[in-house]
């Protein structure tokens, strides 16, 4: 009976495989402090070439500061990162630095560890007025204005800015030329006119323009028009406890978007936050224009060249009927975990400054097209003629420099922002796909967002 040998064989195979599991060692980014070396854990939400870049900087820092050991851990997305960091903090073993994205700034400030202490410490407070830490010059006061405006709260930086982008317009130069469009459209009306011209071509693409259905685009448009999302000066004069998603500025944007869709100019991928679809469509020349993050610039230009067309980069189109207030930043910052020993804290701060020093900030920009975060970095790049060779690279920086510093242009500081973004994109999807009436649907969304904010505040706000 062959089953007699089959059984033991099963067990043998199983044990063998299980034993090979001993080879799956894991490396958690834990803090270790041996007598000589202080360990610094860095958690970032990149798993591609950006993670590699960070690892290279970590090795360089270790060479300059042999008493420190930096271990960088990459995550697929910010949610996974925050979960890992909070759990690690609960077990008393958190990393020193955690990257968290811009709209989660309020949540990061409110976050509390298992002892009830704030999870993160203020970076500027930790720097405490020093001009250099462990030999690394402090670059905090050299940060580009728009970025400083966003991340300065109550007059100080809670976190260290790092990867920053803005929303840009990219156009397919060949199609634009064929339709007789000399310059990229700057206002909403110009976009409509350009699309009319393009779609009238004989070999018109299947649609004119697309962009991901993501909260960022709503926030940008409202900021451009000088509108506010939340009370208390967009949450910057005091904690925001009222959010409004059906302001006139929001509805103008939604209706403009809807009219583009109705005219067949705007195509929706069907999935919210679908960045890849938009860039793929653009590269495949299914659309002539896209709005996307400046961080995608290099890839678009390269892929476009490969596919045989030039790419034009320009500012994000704005509402010509309103006074332009400014575009927002996007991206993330590096937060310093609270409760570290002085050596760890200094090492972490020094690493943050190192990563943003002029050479490194310039290198980061060159590789990823995130904006050069300090003025010295911009100067360096200008000197080497980088912007002259790559005109698309300076568009984001130039656009951000146009902001007027008002609360609208600085962007909202809001709790539960992620959930509120989801509410916005779901409402928009209903408008695009289910023919919902914009005013009604966004009024409903506004109520939902208010509820979400109140839930959030009931948890985090001081009583």
């Amino acid at each position: 009976m062959h089953t007699r040998t089959q059984g033991p064989a099963l067990i043998a195979v199983g044990l063998l495989v299980a034993a090979s599991g001993a080879l799956t060692g894991a490396g958690a980014s834990a803090q270790t402090t041996s007598a000589e070396v202080t360990g610094i854990g860095v958690s970032i939400a990149f798993t591609d070439y950006r993670l590699d870049w960070m690892n290279e900087r970590a090795r360089e820092f270790e060479e300059a500061h042999p008493e420190y050991e930096i271990s960088v851990q990459g995550f697929d997305d910010y949610e996974a990162l925050l979960q890992s960091v909070t759990l690690a903090a609960q077990q008393g073993d958190p990393p020193a630095i955690a990257q968290y994205f811009e709209v989660a700034t309020q949540e990061a400030r409110d976050a509390v560890n298992s002892e009830g202490e704030p999870l993160f410490a203020s970076v500027e407070a930790a720097i405490d007025g020093r001009t250099e830490i462990l030999g690394e010059p402090v670059v905090l006061d050299d940060i580009v204005t728009a970025v400083a405006d966003y991340y300065t709260i109550d007059g100080e930086f809670s976190s260290m800015p790092w990867n920053t982008s803005s929303t840009l317009f990219y156009g397919n130069a060949s199609i634009m030329e064929a339709a007789g469009i000399d310059a990229a459209p700057e206002t909403w009306a110009e976009v409509e006119a350009a699309c009319d011209a393009i779609m009238a071509l004989d070999d018109a693409p299947s649609a004119c323009i697309t962009w991901p259905n993501h909260g960022w685009f709503f926030e940008q448009s409202i900021a451009q028009q000088g509108g506010l999302l939340a009370n208390n000066d967009n949450g910057r004069a005091g904690r925001a406890d009222e959010v409004q998603l059906d302001s006139s500025e929001m509805l103008s944007f939604v209706e403009y978007w809807k009219s583009l869709a109705d005219a067949g100019h705007y195509v929706y991928s069907g999935t919210q936050r679908d960045w890849d679809y938009t860039t793929n469509s653009f590269v495949a020349q299914e659309v002539a224009f896209i709005l996307t993050s400046s961080g995608d610039g290099t890839a678009l230009v390269t892929d476009g060249a490969e596919a045989g067309f030039d790419v034009v980069a320009s500012r994000m189109p704005y509402n010509g009927d309103a006074d332009y207030a400014g575009n927002l930043i996007g991206g993330a910052t590096l937060w310093l975990v609270n409760g570290l020993s002085p050596e760890q804290s200094d090492g972490a701060l020094a690493f943050m400054q190192f990563v943003n020093n002029p050479e490194n900030a310039a290198s980061w920009h060159r590789e990823t097209n995130y904006i050069p975060i300090t003025n010295s970095a911009i100067a360096l790049l200008e000197e080497e003629g980088w912007f002259a060779e790559n005109p698309y690279a300076s568009v984001a920086t130039d656009q951000l420099a146009l902001a007027d510093g008002s609360p609208a242009a600085r962007g909202a500081l809001l709790g539960g922002f992620v959930q509120i973004r989801d509410i916005m994109t779901l409402a928009m999807e209903d408008v695009l796909v289910s023919e919902a009436d914009p005013a009604e649907r966004f009024e409903q969304a506004s109520a939902e967002a208010q509820e979400a904010l109140e839930s959030y505040n009931s948890l985090y706000a001081e009583e």
């Binding site: 089953t3 007699r4 089959q6 059984g7 099963l10 067990i11 199983g14 495989v17 299980a18 090979s20 599991g21 001993a22 080879l23 799956t24 060692g25 894991a26 958690a28 798993t47 591609d48 697929d76 996974a80 979960q83 890992s84 759990l87 609960q90 077990q91 890849d276 679809y277 860039t279 793929n280 590269v283 495949a284 890839a299 892929d303």
Partner: protein
């Protein structure tokens, strides 16, 4: 988890049914074959229909094989011939995204879970069938009720509990995180399977064993287990696949060593923007182990679930 229910239900039937278990099927005469005996009908229509059905079932996978060799441009132009990007796609999947690591972790975790469930279920089956103890039917009911409470229902609370224990971190001796294996060691399905199976064995077995002065453990391992390879094999297949297919739990837990179904998600954005080739290649690679296990252990699987007998 849905497949777990598959084994348990026949056992419940068997309790309610008055007919004997299907061991007698083969020997019974005249089973319905969908056609009256003696009538000659052409079989080619049936073959044709079955081939069409098989083609539909196999089609997506064949398409995946094709796409794994192509680049995005090939896809945009709907090329029907294999492309030349297999190496590049493999590089993205295996080296950049490290799918191999996820697959290894999944393999180890699935094997551990499968064997864990078999062991606890064997012990439970032994206890229910070969021992008398007070409150037996209360305990039985206690285990039975859990069939109505699949893990998914309380998964959020379970996540909080397990992460409080710190079990999302790598386990001792390089084993996978405990949170991926220990909570799943018990199996009501398995307990029922073995209970049913042991109950169908000849009564004199244990009597003879007791006369010989055999201890319960010796009885279990030397006598019962060798008679239960089919049931064990069936349970192993089902639980291995259950472990391999785990998606929600590792998604929530975010263990230090992640499992393959969640790891596949990383391929969606691989290679700087959506690349379909690596995505399909990864999906295919991640399907090979469970299919292999299923094919290799097909016979015990079918027999263990008391189906698939035909002449």
């Amino acid at each position: 988890m849905g497949v777990e229910e598959s084994i348990r239900r026949p056992s419940k039937h068997d309790e309610l049914r008055t007919s004997p278990t299907p061991t007698t099927v083969e020997s019974s005469p005249a089973r319905w074959r969908g056609r009256s005996r003696g009538l000659r009908r052409p079989t080619w229509p049936t073959h044709l229909m079955l081939v069409v059905v098989v083609a539909v079932l196999v089609g997506p996978v064949l398409y995946a094989v094709l796409v794994s060799t192509q680049s995005n441009n090939d896809l945009f132009s709907f090329a029907l011939l294999p492309g030349d990007r297999l190496d590049d796609n493999w590089d993205v999947v295996w080296n950049e995204r490290q799918l191999g690591r996820f697959m290894l972790t999944s393999t180890v975790v699935s094997v551990i879970i499968a064997f864990g469930k078999v062991v606890t279920s064997l012990l439970a089956g032994l206890a229910f069938v070969y021992f008398r103890f007070p409150g037996k039917w209360v305990v039985f009911g206690f285990v039975l009720v859990t069939l109505l409470m699949p893990t998914e229902i309380s998964i959020l609370a379970l996540f909080r509990q397990v992460s409080d224990l710190g079990w999302q971190e790598a386990g001792p001796w390089g084993l996978p995180p405990l949170g991926l294996t220990v909570p799943f060691f018990a199996s009501a399905t398995g307990a029922f399977l073995f209970r049913q199976h042991f109950a169908n064995l000849p009564a004199d077995l244990s009597e003879a064993a007791q006369i010989d002065g055999v201890t319960p453990f010796q009885f279990l391992f030397k006598i019962l287990v060798p008679l239960s390879w089919n049931a064990i094999g069936a349970l192993l297949v089902i639980q291995f696949i259950y472990g391999w297919n785990m998606y929600l739990w590792p998604l929530l837990l975010q263990p230090d060593d992640q499992l393959v179904q969640v790891g596949l998600g990383g391929l969606r954005n691989a290679d700087q923007g959506q690349a379909y080739g690596p995505l399909m290649l990864g999906a295919l690679l991640a399907s090979i182990p469970p299919i292999l296990v299923f094919l290799v252990l097909q016979k015990p699987f079918m027999r263990g679930m008391a189906i698939g007998r035909d002449k």
